[in-house]
């Protein structure tokens, strides 16, 4: 059983890049729409995708959960979204930040950029910036769309409008290339958002996943679910030799042996790959197993 767990963990950790590629394609399955310059308009867009993926991407399969949340609370009919909040809790409990590490197209995009040879910097001394994303969630996703409304009681999706670089990357750029009328309509707001995208492209060359670490409100929601998620990281104390290789390998700046289910852990499995004694593995299910695990002894 233990061997099987390790095999599955090793498989996921080693083939993560391929899983990210497949997840990105499944999240954007209507590829011919890139050439048509229009978006998919089918019923599947009633359902949200787990990662940050703009619904104005021509190929988008489903709705963006952050965009959908703002659309509901910013509408004149509703002031709270049970539908999307339930979705956040469901995905958070089933997978936690595994979504960030394996299923999010924008996370994968930043990782690919980080592979480009460039001077790399550690974010260990920038840990306090992690808390910005909770502020973004509270202010730009919840409070502003809810409270700043027009005469009809409708609010703007402030995060999508002013901060999200994914709308420009997946929506504005491909649509404006294929569609002349959209190209003609782009103005100052596009320039601002394009600037944000370029900023994060440059930051991603230097830092590992800067948007995920510091800004992403979806990552903030899943981070809050990491400790109660079915998917947990486990460190077997009997096998751990305290060599510190896992901590050095972690690009999310998590001390894996002390806090295996830290809010910043995106379950990328770099610690699993690096561990010389196979002491770290994924575990899925209720509670934990009975082996000598760090998590069972309290953090």
């Amino acid at each position: 059983m233990d061997k099987k767990k390790h095999k599955i963990s090793q498989f996921l950790a080693h083939f993560r890049g391929w899983i990210q590629a497949v997840a990105t394609i499944l999240t954007n399955i209507h590829l011919p729409n890139f050439f048509k310059g229009e978006i998919y308009r089918g019923d599947a867009k009633t359902v949200c995708v787990p990662g940050l993926n703009c619904y104005s991407c021509p190929a988008a399969t489903g709705a963006c959960p952050i965009g959908a949340f703002q659309a509901v609370i910013g509408s004149s009919k509703f002031k709270f979204s049970y539908y999307i909040t339930g979705f956040f809790i469901l995905i958070g409990v089933l997978l936690g930040r595994f979504v960030c590490g394996f299923l999010c197209p924008f996370g994968w995009f930043q990782e690919l950029l980080h592979k480009i040879p460039f001077k790399k910097f550690s974010t260990k001394k920038l840990k306090s910036l992690r808390y910005i994303k909770y502020g973004v969630l509270l202010i730009f996703v919840i409070l502003l769309p809810l409270l700043v409304t027009n005469s009809l009681g409708m609010g703007n999706p402030f995060f999508c409008k002013y901060l999200c670089p994914q709308g420009v990357l997946e929506g504005a750029i491909p649509l404006s290339i294929a569609n002349a009328s959209i190209r003609a309509a782009l103005g100052k707001l596009f320039t601002w958002k394009f600037g944000i995208l370029i900023t994060f492209v440059i930051l991603s060359l230097m830092f590992y996943r800067p948007f995920c670490k510091w800004i992403c409100p979806l990552g903030a929601i899943y981070a809050l679910c990491n400790k109660v998620s079915f998917l947990q990281m486990k460190v077997d104390e009997d096998k751990c030799v305290s060599c510190g290789k896992c901590e050095r390998a972690c690009k999310m700046d998590v001390d894996v042996t002390k806090h295996p289910n830290h809010t910043e852990c995106i379950r990328c499995g770099m610690c699993i790959k690096e561990c010389p004694t196979e002491a770290i593995h994924y575990q899925y299910g209720f509670g934990t197993d009975k082996t000598n695990l760090k998590e069972n002894k309290g953090e």
Binding site: C64, Y83, I89, V93, N156, P157, G171, A172, F230
Partner: protein, 48 residues
């Protein structure tokens, strides 16, 4: 977090999530999501 506490939290949250999704869909939120998602989001692409 202890095993029993985590399991209790997981069951509670899972049940709450399913109920919330069902209730939200019933009161018309899913239709609002669909109507937004099938139109070009002007704010997302930077038109305004």
């Amino acid at each position: 977090m202890k095993q029993i506490n985590r399991a209790a939290a997981q069951i509670t949250l899972l049940a709450a999530a399913i109920l919330m999704i069902g209730y939200g869909a019933m009161r018309g939120e899913a239709a609002t999501v669909l109507s937004k998602a099938i139109k070009l989001c002007m704010e997302c692409v930077g038109i305004g």
